[in-house]
Symmetry: C2
Subunit: 340 residues, 2 copies
Amino acid sequence: MIETPYLLFLGDAPDQLAAKVAQGIKDWRPEYAVGQLRMEGCNADMKLPDMTLLDAKAAGAKTLVIGVANRGGIISPAWKKVLITALEEGFDIASGLHNLLRDEADLVAVAEACGRQLHDVRVPSVQYPIATGVKRTGKRCLAVGTDCSVGKMYTALAMDKVMKARGEKSTFAATGQTGILVTGKGVPLDAVIADFMAGAVEYLTPDNDADHWDMIEGQGSLFHVSYSGVTMALIHGGQPDALILCHEPTRTHMRGLPDYDLPTLQQLYDTALPLARWANPACEVVGISINTQHLSDADALAYLAQVEAEMGLPAVDPFRQGADRLVDALLGTQTVLAAQ
Amino acid sequence: MIETPYLLFLGDAPDQLAAKVAQGIKDWRPEYAVGQLRMEGCNADMKLPDMTLLDAKAAGAKTLVIGVANRGGIISPAWKKVLITALEEGFDIASGLHNLLRDEADLVAVAEACGRQLHDVRVPSVQYPIATGVKRTGKRCLAVGTDCSVGKMYTALAMDKVMKARGEKSTFAATGQTGILVTGKGVPLDAVIADFMAGAVEYLTPDNDADHWDMIEGQGSLFHVSYSGVTMALIHGGQPDALILCHEPTRTHMRGLPDYDLPTLQQLYDTALPLARWANPACEVVGISINTQHLSDADALAYLAQVEAEMGLPAVDPFRQGADRLVDALLGTQTVLAAQ
């Protein structure tokens, strides 16, 4: 659990894209972002107040979040001075960099001396249990994709936001580094030991109120041969009541696998649903989330209409259109189930 | 890679079952087992020559293999003296215990001083790559089960033995602790970090001669919600040409999961084969291996005949009947494919 609110460290980010972790926090948890700290040469801007460490401390910030990925994921000497001062000023530090904070002897020494925490969100901080498969109370929705990086995290965050706006009980359950930094907690599932993957997902989405939904961030794809085991653990550990199918229609092959075509949405439906029903016989596919960023407005709308007609399910781009129709479908399922 | 041959350490095993790792080595790689070392109170016997460390050294043994699991998987003080002397006499030590050799400061110190290796086969010794999914040369057969512990390792070992006896090119590819100790190498797949599971299986079963078969030890089950992700990684990382379905017909529920029924063999067929064909479109289910240990001879034969009729595939118990018919089916597939 990372203490909030945050001061977002943008470092010397060469461009806006390099600061996508900070952007994610700004977009999805603006209440966590009291300000930004930019060094000389920084070309990213979250349109947040520029703050010194002392300003941010006065504004209540508890954790300095490294919101930028630099080349090679390393912690540069230029950053080091800021990070050490932050610890001395009483901030914890959170990072999703490959170069771990805990591997920097000076940061570790200063953190210990100052009684501060270093959060490396790429590394599990918990000894997760073996999954039990026991049915849990509350509801769970899982985003599954035809491929990696098609918008599963975005979809779950967008649905969670709509749920909260409507006063519904909802928790975004982060399973990746960015999601964990956005929300301050979660499970870095790709870094968990194989035997404990499904147990980690159970741990992440425990018993809850009957009308509470966990919106589980998906990982990988059942059709991505490098990571399909991680996806499988999400489907069985998450025991979802609802699946959202996620797709990016302009991909010509699976991400990083030039020899592999993408599956169709129907193949994803036919594969994921029976596997999910093994852990939760009540599971339904409730909607489809399409990432249309590479299509024109007109092409996007035409494609969405076509998918909706073919699949008989609401098909939306939550970035262009919002996630309301996906949430309608989710709560509609709940109503139908409650009425049975 | 563990150096062979072995001296099998049976310690103070209370009964034969406690020494099942030693039994596995004796059964499947008798040429690796030069003798056994039994302490006072040992009630297990592999029918191997009883040897002192010096006897075994003279007979060429290179590694002392802890072939026994005691209560709690710990390294007892009574054992410690033998293990330290073994290191001093020039043996490496290999263990699949939960209590790691490397966590015992005295063993580590003596091993370093003597230039010997401590092999903890529960812990990966390699930084495995991310899977690429690139098609590899050679053939691969994977045992998949309706449940955990239904005989997948036994089946792969039995088929490998028949293959070798017939002069066919075959390698048993170990993916679990016992299999690794039996063969001296392999991947402890359940202990691999999630992102690298499929890559570890690719690493284990690399390019090979066109007529060489890797007999891959299965793990878990697609229907066991605790471990299905591991199985999925085997199916996609292994890109098998052939699947063997494994089943134990007297189970009343999934192992450790009282709320879960076992799937049928047909369900396993229908689920595993399409997933396998995503990585290898030529994959076929070639046979069925039934663990009939809890059935009488008559019941076993009747059950096998029934399964064979229902599934249209050879159904055998390799323990009772040998694995010849499974190998016939495997090589028949190869012949058919070669003729196409």
